[in-house]
């Protein structure tokens, strides 16, 4: 990176790419060339910066100026003002919502202040398609250290000491997993990276693979060395074309540099990585299902034991870790377990990446130390609830997790506390909801997902979840009884106890946690036939306040089914028999005359 005087980093993550970040890069390059600066200033497309809400993001180095919501036509201003004249483009700077002041360095933004970036250390700093940039930031140093200074058992010991636990959801201690795999002797063992991120609303693994693919390759090689495996497989979703591309490029470059293949760094250790594609099945995140899918079968889980560490891919000992878990490994090796285990809480060490989404001001990817509270995440990093509405719940752990509410705002987030609160860490989706979310509908939403994704092998999951979903539908249509609510809880408990795999055992969690935390809301649906959030269509009717309506006809013109009638300049009425409750009228009415009853 030395020969250039300045670098312009442009986010090439999925969100920013969708907002034309590729065009920004083109334009920047064109304007630079126009000014004869193409050899002085380098434009680099990086992985995700995390602050997706304010994308596309452009960062100027070395002065760390952080431009937000950049449009392709801003490229000229950035070059002419910032690069040539040395003046910051103030209207592209982030504005602190607290005091309306411009902030130019990301370090001073509320969104970044409380973050500690370990797994995401290189995302947004390097060109993921260039191995030299990864190496310049310490890439492959840990692998070198392992191969030259450490015995396999030392590596395992270091990981054990670090206290790292699996980041895919379960939270199993990683060092222990490696140790078990290392003790099983076989002619061939496998290292598998689980990159089948199927949790709706979560995109951590994708961002790591897109932003820093070399850290995964390095960590898999370290794991191979530690457990005595020479083959690595990445099981990746076919829906992630960009991540697949970048991993393929990274693997090719690593081979060219002798960091994969035969006799790595002259140590006599062989290791190579292949990709295997998923085809859209949530259950394949479960390790035994994932292994079957890699073998070219239906991704159905099998009973454990035997664990994959004993009999996994093609019947050989296999160690499966998630992308984020792997991304932590090189740092633990270079900085040491003692450095790592000082971060976090007693039983959950290090950091966790969350995909913060939903009704929150700062949507994005964050990495925070374990033990941070929900309040800090939502109000300090997330910038509070959108449109000043009231916080209602936050859903963690995706379809296997549950909802946390106001009373959990000050609970430190770690594996054990989340489970005690009826949710789980999961892979790291964190969806924030405000008063406009109906908790019965949210539970139903997740159950519909589980029903679709259940592999059908065991009865509790295949049929039990279907029944749960039917009961929730009945309640949301206003036909539920109190008995249904008790039955809901009963059946959920049975599924939890009897399902075969992790998917089934956790699938009732969204129902149980909403029942626990929002019992009143369920009762309202059943007894009062009301949905306070105004989501369950069967429980509401639209009405026009005859005193407020001025007869502007805006609602009638926009009603897709012609349910609204009335003379011009005369109050209108809605025919409830025709109305499909789409809400188009309420959005159009400038006089606040339409309300949901």
């Amino acid at each position: 990176m030395a020969k250039y005087k300045m670098h312009v980093l442009v986010c090439g993550g999925t969100g920013c790419k969708a907002s034309q970040s590729a065009q920004i890069v083109e334009n920047l390059k064109a304007v630079l060339t126009e000014n004869g600066l193409q050899d002085e200033v380098q434009v680099i497309t990086t992985g995700c910066f995390g602050f997706c809400e304010k994308g596309p993001i452009v960062k100027m180095m070395p002065d760390n100026t952080f431009y937000t919501q950049v449009k392709p036509e801003d490229a000229r201003t950035i070059v002419e003002e910032h690069i040539i004249k040395g003046r910051k483009v103030t209207n592209l700077l982030y504005t602190d919502p607290e005091n309306n002041e411009h902030v130019s360095d990301s370090k001073h933004m509320g969104f970044y202040k409380k973050q500690i970036r370990i797994a995401l250390r290189n995302c947004g700093f390097i060109d993921p398609e260039n191995i030299d940039e990864s190496i310049s930031r310490g890439g492959y140093e840990a692998l070198g250290k392992c191969l030259s200074e450490m015995k396999p058992e030392d590596v395992i010991q270091e990981i054990k000491l670090s206290g790292l636990r699996g980041r895919g959801g379960g939270g199993f201690p990683t060092g222990l997993k490696w140790e078990i795999a290392s003790k099983n002797h076989a002619d061939q063992k496998y290292v598998v990276c689980n990159a089948d991120e199927g949790d709706p609303g979560a995109f951590m693994d994708r961002s790591i693979m897109e932003g820093d693919p070399h850290s995964i390759i390095e960590a898999m090689a370290i794991c191979g060395y530690a457990i005595g495996a020479t083959k690595g497989l990445v099981y990746i979703r076919a829906e992630y074309p960009l991540a697949i591309d970048r991993l393929q490029i990274a693997i090719k470059q690593a081979r060219e540099y002798g960091l994969l293949g035969q006799d790595i760094m002259g140590s006599g250790f062989d290791f190579d990585i292949e990709l295997r594609y998923g085809a859209g099945a949530f259950v394949c995140g479960e390790e035994t299902a994932l292994i079957h899918s890699m073998e070219g079968k239906r991704g159905e889980p099998t009973f454990k034991p035997p664990f994959p560490a004993v009999s996994g891919y093609l019947g050989k000992p296999t160690n499966v870790n998630n992308v984020e878990t792997f991304a932590n490994i090189p740092v633990i090796i270079t900085k040491g377990a003692d450095w790592f285990n000082k971060i976090g809480t007693e039983k959950s060490k290090g950091t966790k990446v969350f995909a913060l989404a939903g009704q929150i001001n700062n949507v994005g990817l964050i990495e925070v130390p374990m033990g941070i509270t929900l309040r800090e995440v939502i109000y300090e990093i997330g910038g509070g609830i959108k449109d000043g509405k009231e916080f209602k719940a936050v859903q963690t752990g995706g379809p296997s997790g549950g909802c946390l509410t106001k009373k959990h705002l000050d609970t430190p987030i770690d594996y054990d506390n989340l489970i005690a609160a009826g949710s789980m860490m999961g892979s790291g989706g964190m969806v924030v909801m405000d008063e406009t979310s109906c908790m019965v509908s949210i539970a139903k939403f997740y159950l519909e997902f589980t029903c679709e994704e259940s592999c059908g092998k065991c009865t509790p999951c295949r049929i039990g979840n279907k029944r749960l979903c039917e009961m929730l539908t009945k309640i949301s249509k206003g036909n539920g009884t109190m008995e249904d609510l008790y039955e809901l809880r009963n059946l959920a408990a049975v599924i939890k106890d009897t399902a075969l795999c992790g998917l089934g055992q956790t699938s009732p969690n969204p129902v149980l946690s909403t029942l626990d935390n929002f019992w009143d809301e369920y009762v309202e649906h059943v007894v009062d036939k009301k949905c306070r959030a105004g989501v369950c269509k069967s429980l509401m009717s639209y009405e026009i306040d005859q005193t407020k309506c001025v007869g502007c006809t805006a609602c009638a013109r926009n009603c897709p089914v012609g349910a609204i009638k009335g003379e011009k300049k005369m109050p209108h009425t809605i025919d409830p028999a025709v109305c499909i409750k789409c809400g188009a009228c309420i959005e159009r009415c400038k006089f606040g005359a339409i309300s949901i009853k």
């Binding site: 993550g13 999925t14 969100g15 790419k17 969708a18 907002s19 997706c52 809400e53 994308g55 199927g198 949790d199 709706p200 609303g201 979560a202 995109f203 994708r206 961002s207 076919a238 829906e239 992630y240 295997r276 594609y277 998923g278 085809a279 859209g280 099945a281 949530f282 899918s293 073998e295 070219g296 079968k297 239906r298 991704g299 995909a355 989404a357 939903g358 009704q359 949507v363 994005g364 859903q395 995706g398 989706g429 969806v431 909801m433 979310s437 949210i442 939403f445 997902f449 679709e452 592999c455 897709p560 789409c582 809400g583 188009a584």
Partner: protein, 159 residues
């Protein structure tokens, strides 16, 4: 086995793909990915050829095609529309956008319009939650949508 009605050139494409994976039955998922990439979908006849080439029962191939949501036996429209129903998009009103697409195109999820122009599907999270709710038409991502935008998006592809 039923007579296969595919053209010679199509059969050759499938055979070549199978061959590139050494006709190993363990590679069936990768084979199906490439075959779907070539034809857009996996009708029964195609599955029969794949099964024959990889020396495995057709039922097993069908079992895989029907298990994974990425594989489809229905041809997609010229402009496949995918609505993200991930949680982030859901809480920001993706369902309303979906309803509007259904209404305007007069088709249900999983169907294709009569003129073959549009097909409608749901997907779970494209990872652009910052832009929620998100819709993809082909490879293009549309973000921060409201039901109002639907008309314009369809018009863009109808001209």
């Amino acid at each position: 086995m039923a007579t296969i009605k595919l053209s010679e050139s199509k059969i050759k494409t499938i055979k070549d793909i199978c061959k590139s994976f050494d006709n190993k039955s363990g590679e069936v998922i990768n084979v199906l990915h490439q075959v779907q990439g070539a034809f857009g979908y996996l009708p029964a006849e195609v599955q029969e050829v794949v099964a024959m080439e990889l020396n495995m029962p057709v039922a097993q191939v069908y079992g895989i095609v029907s298990f994974y949501s990425f594989f489809t036996m229905q041809p997609k429209g010229e402009h496949p529309i995918s609505i993200c129903l991930g949680t982030a998009c859901y809480v920001r009103g993706a369902e309303k956008v979906l309803d509007e697409f259904k209404r305007q195109l007069n088709i249900n999820v999983g169907e294709t319009t009569k003129d073959g122009k549009f097909s409608l599907n749901c997907l779970r999270c494209v990872g652009a939650c910052g832009l929620a709710p998100v819709v993809m038409v082909g490879d293009k991502v549309y973000g921060r949508l409201t039901p109002d935008n639907v008309k314009d998006i369809i018009a863009e592809y109808n001209s």
